[in-house]
Symmetry: C2
Subunit: 356 residues, 2 copies
């Protein structure tokens, strides 16, 4: 690890060779610039002969289109945006976004499109970010994640003239296609699984009710519990490990009225809850069953390994990007439903201690 001299830093790099333009191609092919543009964009009205000459001229020169020039004349950005509005600590603990973005990228790479990412603190900075992305036309459309109840972003983005796709269906009227994963099925399967193991006292540690997917999971929990004749107990949190731990302490506080199973709305909270239980001297799953959501990489590597609900987040990202690109290209699109979330049973769930 050698220290380099400061002046080494300033060594200027070589200017890249001048790129051929459409004018060079036109000259070589002996046609006008306009015709080159038509040929290269696969538009009708170019004779097979000319097209041939143009394409081979372009190939010979190693021509590739200038995105910025196309941007200016066609008023498109050839990019899509993702604005993440979560508290830093919460987004860091949650593997959702890296996985999701990797999925988006699989669709983008090769399409010549690019992903513009903005991380903002929730609140008005978020709206300003969408505004400036639209004002500068830095993106042609956005993927809306973490949908909220009565989400004001829907109207804002429509008003800004951006295309969009939502992850899940909003609870308000929306002009945008939705790409959804039925995570309620995962919650229901979890409660069924626990009920089958004899649990009659099951609690749910929910995410914030202002977030649609958190509310949806909670309702699914309440419905499934009700179907088994179980009185649902719910504690709401902000999805952080800290509040997940606090909720667990609260639930385990009264030894005479302690749930035998806790269904957490995400994995980080479940792991924090597991630690709280162990610290309180409980043995999981003998004394308490625990389940998570999202099937984090770590879920199978903790002790006991964590029963969780798996969704294909990367596929979600890829499909969302594909639908958004189609929308931008004015192709007809419909709401899309991905395969539902499914339960992955592991060691953290077993028979209720009160089970015969």
């Amino acid at each position: 690890m050698a220290e380099r001299d400061a002046d080494t830093q300033r060594r200027s790099n070589e200017p890249p060779a001048a790129r051929p333009t459409i004018a060079d191609v036109a000259r070589l092919a002996g046609v006008s610039k306009g015709l080159v543009s038509f040929a290269l964009n696969d538009r009708p009205g170019v004779s097979a002969d000319s097209r041939e000459r143009i394409l081979s001229a372009a190939a010979e020169l190693g021509w590739s289109p200038s995105v910025r020039a196309r941007s200016l004349s066609s008023n498109r950005a050839f990019a899509i945006g993702l604005v993440i509005a979560r508290e830093p600590g919460i987004v860091a603990a949650d593997p959702f976004f890296p996985t999701f973005m990797a999925g988006v990228e699989t669709e983008l790479s090769g399409s010549g499109q690019t992903l513009v990412l903005a991380t903002v603190t929730p609140g008005r900075q978020e709206a300003d970010t969408y505004r400036s992305l639209a004002l500068d036309k830095r993106v042609d459309g956005v993927i809306l994640t973490d949908l909220r109840t009565g989400d004001e972003r829907i109207a804002l983005i429509d008003e800004l003239g951006l295309a969009a796709v939502t992850l899940g269906r909003p609870d308000t009227d929306s002009p945008f296609p939705a790409v959804s994963i039925d995570d309620e099925a995962g919650v229901t399967a979890t409660v069924d699984h626990l009920a089958q193991l004899g649990h009659r006292s099951i609690a749910h540690v929910a995410g914030p009710s202002s977030m649609l997917h958190a509310a949806r999971r909670r309702r699914a929990f309440e419905r499934a519990a009700g179907a088994h004749g179980i009185a649902p107990r719910v504690v709401e949190t902000d999805f952080s490990a800290t509040e997940g731990a606090a909720a667990t302490r609260h639930l385990l506080g009264d030894p005479d009225d302690r749930p035998t199973a806790i269904v957490y709305s995400n994995d980080p909270m479940a792991l924090a809850g597991l630690a709280v239980a162990q610290r309180a001297g409980l043995i999981v799953p003998r004394d308490l069953s625990i389940t998570g959501f999202d099937n984090t990489d770590l879920a199978e590597h903790v002790y006991p390994s964590l029963t969780s609900v798996a969704t294909d987040v990367a596929a979600w990202g890829a499909i969302a990007a594909r639908v958004l690109l189609a929308t931008i290209a004015s192709e007809p699109v419909d709401n899309t439903d991905l395969p539902p979330a499914r339960l992955v049973a592991r060691e953290s769930t077993s028979h209720s201690p009160h089970h015969p």
Copy 2:
């Protein structure tokens, strides 16, 4: 959650009002377009009087520059890039990137610059991504993370004519400024801490030696162990929880020659190692001390809570972005060193079982 009709999807959103251009401003101020450009870019050679008229005309019209037009004429992208080349599972488990990007964003927001993100599978797709970002001038510069030994990206990016900043100093000659955090200090502090607790048999679960920061931590471990007269034992992994668990099983395999402490090169591996130890019937820290690296959010929420090494990743992102923007603006920049990593001692480390 109402299903919407398919035809509702196609409701077109309002066309945004036509934006004022520099020509409108010139007309209102009664000057030429060129002068407007000079005034708005704070360039010398505009009379105070004209500047005044131009600025108020721009304000009155609500003018803001068209990024795409500026891009085309000035050949800049007003964007910086981040290319993440890690296996999906590993990047998802590691909170580094979300935190880092949030830090980058704090510097970017308000600067009118944008972050372009690409996630690629390691290998040639990575080089192609840098090439196309440069060819299309989608970015003016890039932040190089996860530096490797003899990193070919340095030469590639220099050749492509992009600006760059590296996270940490490369082991090859580099024309780019480096923004570094001394993580060796954190490893050294960890080993000192363990030695002070009486540990004489300490192992290290390292990341891949092809990654500079993994190699650096490993060397720091070996040096610190040597300083205490301890024979260093090292197992190399790919940084994944899976291989962290396997390395731990290997280290704990021989009961007669089992380390009393294990220093992991990241937190996910430490958490997986903790589980392996517990599964083997060991009590942490009574029978085995364990430390991580990066001080993940979860570290304080597991049981026992994890001793780890903390670095200010968000600040790293902010400074890296700032240095890169300065480089792009041709301002003089030097290598920057952030405050060193520091040990956060928690419950997972205590006296060696062999300690008197």
